[in-house]
Symmetry: C2
């Protein structure tokens, strides 16, 4: 039975390379308290609060991270978990979730490794998106672009749909810097943050139309699956045969019903240590410290230590991370290369 609530679908995963060595394959970004005392996953769940019109969440995660998910879910939340037998990207993950909901439920697909500073703005955008989704629009959050980022896809705004949103004129893959600057200057482009609202039936119909094999594979995996308390385990063989494709490629870029709602909510994908520093509260020198540290004459420095004493002198725009047997020191500009370090690759 459908209801008027919004059904959060929280996607959990990640390889843990870009915030290495704090984030690791065995405990990636969503499960770490990177901004504030709660983890990004916990914040993703708590943003979709029952009192704000959200149903209990449906979490999609891999077996490798199930323990983290269950440890960080409130047992009384009524949350359900879909345990992916393998990683098959977002189209398959969202299809699984859709098949575990009712046709007329509105699902809100949320990555769990982003930070959103303004929860009220998020909830407001979610309700706007849900309203459009009930009209069978496939809705992306169009996150207000604050800088010419080359690491995100962009949505070009089309015709208005009432007061709540716009049609998407075009999806743009990660641009080069010149194009990103042009998008920012134009003002008609927003970041694609991977947050979507769909009516379940509308999503499945579009998936069926544009990627029938993924839809059939997901149905087969659910048919071969079994429930275990709040957990649902799709059939592993059927799931493994599904193409690995993002929901953007599989559905959003093909549907004629793509819409967007503007969202200006202090969003960050915390895509590297530099982005994390930007998302964190900082002192008057622009420094942010977690763990024991003494900073002398430092500016724009992020220290993240698992307990060892960090002493820093005279540094500007540098990130220092101490975790287990690894010490990372990088310029903020160099932070984008962290995922390519041997330690991050070979973990």
């Amino acid at each position: 039975m459908s209801d008027s609530l919004i059904h959060p679908v929280i996607l959990c995963g990640g390889s843990g390379t870009r915030l290495w060595p704090r984030s690791r394959a065995i405990k990636p970004k969503p499960f770490l308290p990177l901004v504030g005392d709660s983890t990004l996953f916990e914040q993703s769940v708590s943003r979709c609060a029952p009192g704000a019109g959200f149903a209990a969440p449906l979490v999609v995660t891999g077996a490798a991270h199930l323990a983290h998910v269950e440890a960080q879910l409130d047992p009384g939340s009524g949350a359900r978990v879909i345990v992916e037998p393998s990683a098959r990207n977002t189209a398959a993950a969202i299809a699984l979730a859709a098949l575990r909901l009712d046709q007329d439920d509105v699902m809100l697909v949320c990555p769990s490794d982003h930070h959103i500073a303004d929860v009220a703005a998020f909830q407001s955008a979610a309700h706007a998106a849900a309203t459009l989704a009930r009209q069978d629009w496939l809705v992306s959050f169009g996150i207000e672009a604050k800088s010419p980022e080359t690491g995100f896809g962009y949505l070009q705004r089309g015709a208005a749909i009432g007061a709540l949103g716009y049609q998407v004129a075009r999806f743009v893959e990660k641009p080069d810097l010149a194009r990103a600057q042009a998008f920012l200057a134009d003002g008609g482009y927003a970041w694609n943050g991977g947050i979507f609202a769909f009516r379940v039936g509308a999503f499945l119909a579009e998936l069926e139309q544009h990627r029938p094999a993924i839809a059939a594979g997901a149905r087969a995996a659910v048919a071969a699956g079994h429930a275990d308390g709040q957990r649902f385990h799709p059939g592993a063989d059927a799931f493994a045969r599904i193409d690995s494709e993002s929901v953007d490629y599989a559905v959003m870029e093909n549907t004629a019903r793509a819409a967007m709602v503007p969202a200006d909510m202090g969003w960050s994908d915390i895509g590297n240590w530099d982005a994390l520093l930007a998302a964190r509260p900082r002192d008057e020198m622009g420094n942010s410290v977690t763990g024991p540290a003494e900073l002398v004459g430092c500016r724009g420095v992020l220290v993240e230590s698992d307990g060892r004493q960090v002493s820093a002198i005279g540094l500007e725009d540098v990130v220092i991370v101490v975790d287990g047997n690894d010490v990372l020191v990088t310029t903020r500009a160099g932070a984008q290369l962290v995922g390519k370090l041997q330690g991050a690759v070979n973990q």
Copy 2:
């Protein structure tokens, strides 16, 4: 009985703050392999090799460092050790050593926490200094000034004494930068590296004249002392009553017989991490790495790790030291402040 050999007097001590956290009070700089595979102390001893005209060394150290000294001395070297019951600066330490040698022995006082790249030049200067010392000059090594250092005292060259050296016209305490630059431009100034050659009797006579209390105190401490194999323990009470004063203040700045021999021998006092990097072999990017590390796009970076993996990206002129539970990251310019860090002060 005196002989024609040079008697090395190796002074060992230090608080271990300026190269913290690698150097610590319990194991300060002389006892660490900072440049090459042997320690600075081992190098200080081996520079004064029997084959090059040196007698077995006389080491002066505190009880706290005796174990390091004895562990790093070759048992067959015939070295003797004077164990200071307390720290009373160099005038008292050298007086103790003088009193354990013969009147006509030439002693060569050597700090053990410096690095000297050109051992042959050191030995050559030592023999020149010894020759002048036998003429009852009190001889300092005048180390060729390579830069306008403000952390060293300077010797102003006076009249030549034959071909071997010069009288010292003036001792100059640590200058400000403008004066240091003027000294460098003048060319008549050398660094005072704390290396001295004295005929024992001449030194004791000058000490007696200018600091009779220190001379008397040292005699009393030796009289109250006892030998224990190769070790000599001065009387603790008598030694504790001696004024703590450097040999520069107590003797060198007062004597009319101050001389210097020029020494251009790749000398460094390794007074901080920046100086250590300068003394070390570096790769083509100017980096020097000890321990497991991956450097990406770094230039002028020193990594010193006790075993933890250090990953560094995009850094220029930065020092990274990992030791035990401490991680130090400083600009090379900031390295002079390391000794004032809480960790260094409170160790």
